[in-house]
Structure formats: structure tokens, C-alpha cells
Point group: C2
Chain length 321, copies 2
């Protein structure tokens, strides 16, 4: 008899990761495909499905459940992608039905930040904690709450959006429509924008092409002792410590796991962030809240999708027995 496996599918704007894992938790196959956005959702899903079929054939395994992570907004209940920014053509696209009808296996969808949070909770830096706040600082700032192994979805399945908490009253207008969100200061795009603006304002002292500045450039400049970059970075830390600190004061999680491109700055980010959060959080023993870098990198999403598949399997068994 074939080994039974679950499949995880992590759909991103540029890449799609797929993995198979046995019911015992052994990874038996994994692949990455480019997201050929121009092909449209049907063709892309067809390619993903064919990949899964090939992996099943190669490993001689039987598929029992599928988990999918996809950029939001999504409709979890109905299993739809609702034209994510990176996948604008996916308008009310029936992601779950498309996959479920192909494989005749229970299929669960969640957004990419929630999937990544589950991945870190079960396989990564969040292992062993009762609950975690996951924060991803990349182009934007996303977040998710995992409590006793389950995503806390909340109204609109949107809980954990620390990037859109207001940390600077009457601050800059955010893409979300309100003013002074954490994302307007501390996202990768905002860090780069603030650096560009500061340099442009400093009367031509700047050399090089301002357009090429990214959050990574700023981090490199901090490491090289650049004073302007250090000021930008200090302000980034200050507001991250307010936003994440507020989330800790509200949720009191055992750990905060920080992923996304900006977290690659490592201790340059975490050391001052822990210190500033320590000043901002006064209602609980902050030394009991671990503030950690995510450990799975780009694997967190597909790991989380595998957990979603396990949830689908468990739910089916609960309904049957």
C-alpha cells in the first residue's frame, strides 16, 4: 500500500512552493515553480496540479489532504482569492474548489502571513510556545496570531495586522486609507523611502542614484557606520517597538517571531528592538516574551501550508467519526 501524504502549496507573487509530507511528518518531495502571472490563474493552477501529480507518481504516495497559502485578501470560508495585489487577475478565483475537484481531497486555504505563522509555530522559531505573534517585515508589514496551534482569525479573518496599527497619530497616509500605520514608517518600502527623502533633503550631499536605495542598502549603510542611515534605522526601531510592544501589551504572547526581508538584518534589528520593547511594555514580565528571528526563511509558507493540510485532514476525520 502507498504511503499517505499531505500536500502544501504556497502561492507567492513570484514563486510557488509545493511539498509533500507523510502523515508521520517526513518530507518526501518539494518543488519550486515560477509564478507565471501572465498565464492567469487557471493555467497556473494546472501547472501546480501537474507538479503535485508528478511528485505523487515519483514517490509512489497517495494524497489525503491539501493546504494552500495565498496572498490576501482571500475568502477563507468560500476558498476564493480576491485579487491579491501581486495576482491582480485572480478575481474571486475559486482556489479551493479548483484543487479539491482535481485531487478529490479535503483542501484548506489561508492567507500567506497566516500560513507562514503556522510554519514558524510548528517547524520554526515558534516551536514549543503556547502562542506567538508572527510579524513579517518586507515590502509591507503583515502579521498573524497563533494560539494553541490554531490561527486566531477574528472578524474578516484579519487579526494580527500589526502593520496597520497606528503608531504615529496624524502621520503619513497609508495605502490602507488611514494615517500613521506602522507600515508607513517601518516596512521595507518605507525605510527606503525615508532614507531617499532624507538624502534628497540634505542639499545634494548625496552621491549615487537615490532610486537604487532599498531597506537592504540602509541596513548595509548602518553596518558601515553611516550616520544618516543610523538615524533612519533608530526611528524604524522606535516605531516597531511601539507597534510590536502594543501588540505584546494586548496579546501577551509567549513569543514574537519576526520574518520577512527586513528581519535578515538579524541582531542589528533584534537587539535594539528588544531593548526598546522592554521600555514600552510595562504590564507583564517582558523577559518572559521571547523576541526571535523567524528561522524558516522562504520555507515558512510551504511548511504552514502542510499544517493547513493536516488541519483539513483532522477536520474530515472529526466529521466522519
Amino acid at each position: 500500500m502507498n504511503d499517505k501524504v499531505v500536500a502544501g502549496i504556497d502561492i507567492g507573487g513570484t514563486k510557488i512552493a509545493v511539498a509533500l509530507e507523510t502523515h508521520e511528518g517526513e518530507r518526501v518531495a518539494a518543488r519550486r515553480l515560477p509564478t507565471e502571472v501572465e498565464l492567469g490563474p487557471e493555467r497556473i493552477l494546472e501547472n501546480v496540479s501537474r507538479s503535485v501529480e508528478e511528485m505523487l507518481a515519483e514517490t509512489g504516495t497517495t494524497l489525503t489532504a491539501i493546504g494552500i497559502g495565498c496572498p490576501g485578501p482571500i475568502d477563507i470560508e468560500r476558498g476564493l482569492a480576491l485579487s491579491p495585489t501581486n495576482l491582480p487577475e485572480w478575481i474571486d478565483f475559486p482556489l479551493v474548489d479548483t484543487i479539491k475537484n482535481r485531487f478529490h481531497a479535503p483542501t484548506v486555504l489561508d492567507n500567506d502571513a497566516n500560513a507562514a505563522a503556522l510554519g514558524e509555530y510548528f517547524y520554526g522559531a515558534g516551536r514549543g510556545f503556547k502562542d506567538i505573534l508572527y510579524v513579517t517585515i518586507s515590502t509591507g508589514i503583515g502579521g498573524a496570531i497563533v494560539c494553541e496551534g490554531q490561527i486566531h482569525h477574528g472578524v474578516g479573518a484579519s487579526a494580527g495586522e500589526v502593520g496597520h496599527t497606528i503608531v504615529k497619530p496624524d502621520g503619513l497616509l497609508c495605502l490602507c486609507g488611514t494615517h500613521g500605520c506602522l507600515e508607513t514608517i517601518a516596512s521595507g518600502l518605507s525605510i527606503a523611502r525615508r532614507m531617499r527623502e532624507t538624502l534628497a533633503a540634505s542639499n545634494g550631499k548625496a552621491t549615487g542614484n537615490l532610486d537604487e536605495i532599498t531597506a537592504q542598502t540602509v541596513v548595509e549603510a548602518v553596518k558601515n557606520g553611516d550616520e544618516t542611515a543610523q538615524n533612519i534605522w533608530d526611528e524604524t526601531i522606535k516605531f516597531l517597538a511601539i507597534g510590536i510592544g502594543n501588540a505584546i501589551t494586548l496579546i501577551a504572547p509567549e513569543a514574537v517571531v519576526i520574518g520577512g526581508g527586513v528581519s535578515e538584518a538579524g541582531e542589528l534589528l533584534l537587539e535594539p528592538l528588544r531593548r526598546e520593547i522592554g521600555k514600552n511594555v510595562t504590564m507583564l514580565p517582558i523577559e518572559d516574551v521571547q523576541i526571535l528571528k523567524a528561522s524558516l526563511g522562504s520555507e515558512s509558507g510551504v511548511c504552514g501550508a502542510l499544517i493547513l493540510a493536516r488541519h483539513a485532514l483532522k477536520k474530515m476525520h472529526e466529521n466522519v467519526y
Copy 2:
């Protein structure tokens, strides 16, 4: 055979409320005693215990479990009061053991805000919702999260402290030790202080004794069309909408229930608060989050203590069977 009842004890700085309820949920007796702080914890607890015994005798009932709400800080695990501000002599006082040894019944302790939140969730404005954020705006600002019938305690049993989230970076120093907490702007004490400061600064235009100004005075002045009071109130609403809005963005609860003395302002508070929160919360359908006035008034604590007693009973049964 005697009817079985649970007891709820709500310890406050000025009053203690006690109630008995049958296992079927019928309230059979209730009393209020003054908190004679000068007697010290042992004597006070002796008086409370005697009250419970009298109520049991009068109603011919048998006590099966006890729930206690007490101002924080407390140690829930060990059942201790840790010298609350209003009860400074209660230093590491073994509240749970004292009551448990007297009545030989399972006894559970939680802090007063958590107890009030449970009360509103099961008996008050929070009924019928999956999860709520409870906010109490009185002298200070407290809060609690109830999720599927249980308090979300978190690290240090301190989750839900919306009053100590930072809403004004580099703002006033709070008693908690950090700067710009919501409590420094929008608590009853802070509303009154801001009004006093504004009047004192307005070059002797003020009449009457500034020391007599309370949050209630400010609310009355707003109702009477006083412009200074209106400005103070608008700023109060603005920052409450940031703090509570941020909590909604993070937790996405089905309802926010607002209690405490300042909530007695009713729609004068709630109507503009809903409008401003609507502007601040962009990541979820805010019309699906109810923002409500607490409905139990000073009864919320003892109602919640009765729920704590039921939790104690349930836990005992789970351990036995």
C-alpha cells in the same frame, strides 16, 4: 436534598459584592458589604465568609465552588493578592487558600477587569458574541479579552491592557513607567487633569474650583455646549479610537464592550468613538465589530466571579472523571 449553588465574590476597594447562583443559573441571594480596608485582609475575608455562610443557611443551599474577582496585581496560579493599589496591605495575601480552607470547595481567582469581562460576556452586553474585547474606562483604563468563553490570560496573566498601549509617542509619563499610554490621555483622571490644565492656562478665564473637576464634570460641560470641554472630549475620543482601534486591528473581536464610569457618558462617547474607529480600522469590515456600552454596571464583577466559580466546578469534574 439541598440545592447546589456556586458563590461569586467581587472584591473592590470600597465594596465587596457576594452572590449565590444555582447550578441551573438562578440567582438565589446577593449582598454588598463595605470594604473596611482598615481591618486588614484576614478580618475582611472572615466577614465575607460569614456572609456567604449566612446566605447559604438562609437559602438552604450547598456550596460547590467559589469564584473571586480582586483588583490586580494578583498571582492567579498561586491564588494571591499582590498588594493592589486600593488594598495596599494585601501583600501576597493567600486569597484562594483562605476561602478554600473555609468552604472546602474549589476556588478560582482572577483580576477584577477579567471578572467584569466574563460577566459582560455571559450575562451582559457581550452575550452571543464569539469573542469580545472588554475595556473599562474609570480612574484608569483596564481591559480583558474573552475568547470562546475563556479569558485570554497570556504571559503574566496580563493580556488586554489596552490602557497601557502607547498612542502618543513621547507623550506624558504614565504611572506604569512608559510614555504616552492611552491611560495618560483618556482615563477619568486624565480627562479631568487635561480640563484643569486647559482652564488654568487660559489666563484666569476659569471660574469655580478647578480641583472639583472630574471626568463627569467634563461630560456635563460638553452636554451644556462648553467649547473647552468639547475640545478635551474630542481629543479623548481621538486617542480612545486609536487605542481601541489598534486593539481591533490586532484581535479582530466580534464586539468591544466598554464599561467603567466614563462609559456612563453613553452615546456622547460611543457615537463619535464608533465614527473615529471606523476611520482607523481598515483591515476588516468594521461594521461587523459591535462597539457597545457595558450593560451590567457595578454587577459585572460579581457576575464574572460566578462564572469563575463555574469554571472551577467544571475543572474539578474534568479532573475527577
